[in-house]
Amino acid sequence: DVKVTQSSRYLVKRTGEKVFLECVQDMDHENMFWYRQDPGLGLRLIYFSYDVKMKEKGDIPEGYSVSREKKERFSLILESASTNQTSMYLCASSSTGAEAFFGQGTRLTVV
């Protein structure tokens, strides 16, 4: 069974903390994505990667960075968490031109 696994389902962090969200896929996909999902706004793309060590900004990259050192792992980093980054974060992977497979999401609360 194909899988995208996000390291945490729920996370509570303090303002100013550095936060790491981890995502691992077992499908040997070249593309990986980080989205955030907020009510009424749908899924908004933060960053994506089409190869190891490659990354491109999505629509809302401010306040975030990413790391892809291995093909199967894509990490999202909040350098200094703020309350407006409280959201559901979804990781996805795909083979180019095919469907996107999503993880179960991480609900992050910044207090």
């Binding site: 994505f33 749908g42 793309l45 979804l90 031109g97 179960q104």
Partner: protein, 111 residues
């Protein structure tokens, strides 16, 4: 950035009713995907449409791609409580690797 508008934003209906949700774009789609997201889960692909005028059926779900490839609809016949979820349309943007998602339609089917 391409904008995908979905309507209605919310829909609450009784079991057995029919419904249609819509996805519209500000420009021509290269291809369009429909996903369903159940509470606490990531989105899961339902269908991909590519050709203008295309109609695809998945049991009680009928997907239509507009002739001009700027709009799509999802029709559910005799809705069941198991159809409850968030329905998202998405475009795989031509020449890139990324998916742009619509704002979503949240459907609740009451038993």
């Amino acid at each position: 950035t391409q904008l995908l508008e979905q309507s209605p934003q919310f829909l609450s209906i009784q079991e057995g009713e029919n419904l249609t949700v819509y996805c519209n774009s500000s420009s021509v789609f290269s291809s369009l995907q429909w996903y369903r997201q159940e509470p606490g889960e990531g989105p899961v692909l339902l269908v991909t449409v590519v050709t203008g005028g295309e109609v695809k059926k998945l049991k009680r779900l009928t997907f239509q791609f507009g002739d001009a490839r700027k709009d799509s609809s999802l029709h559910i016949t005799a809705a069941q409580p198991g159809d409850t979820g968030l329905y998202l349309c998405a475009e795989l943007t031509s020449g890139t690797y990324k998916y742009i998602f619509g704002t979503g339609t949240r459907l609740k089917v009451l038993a």
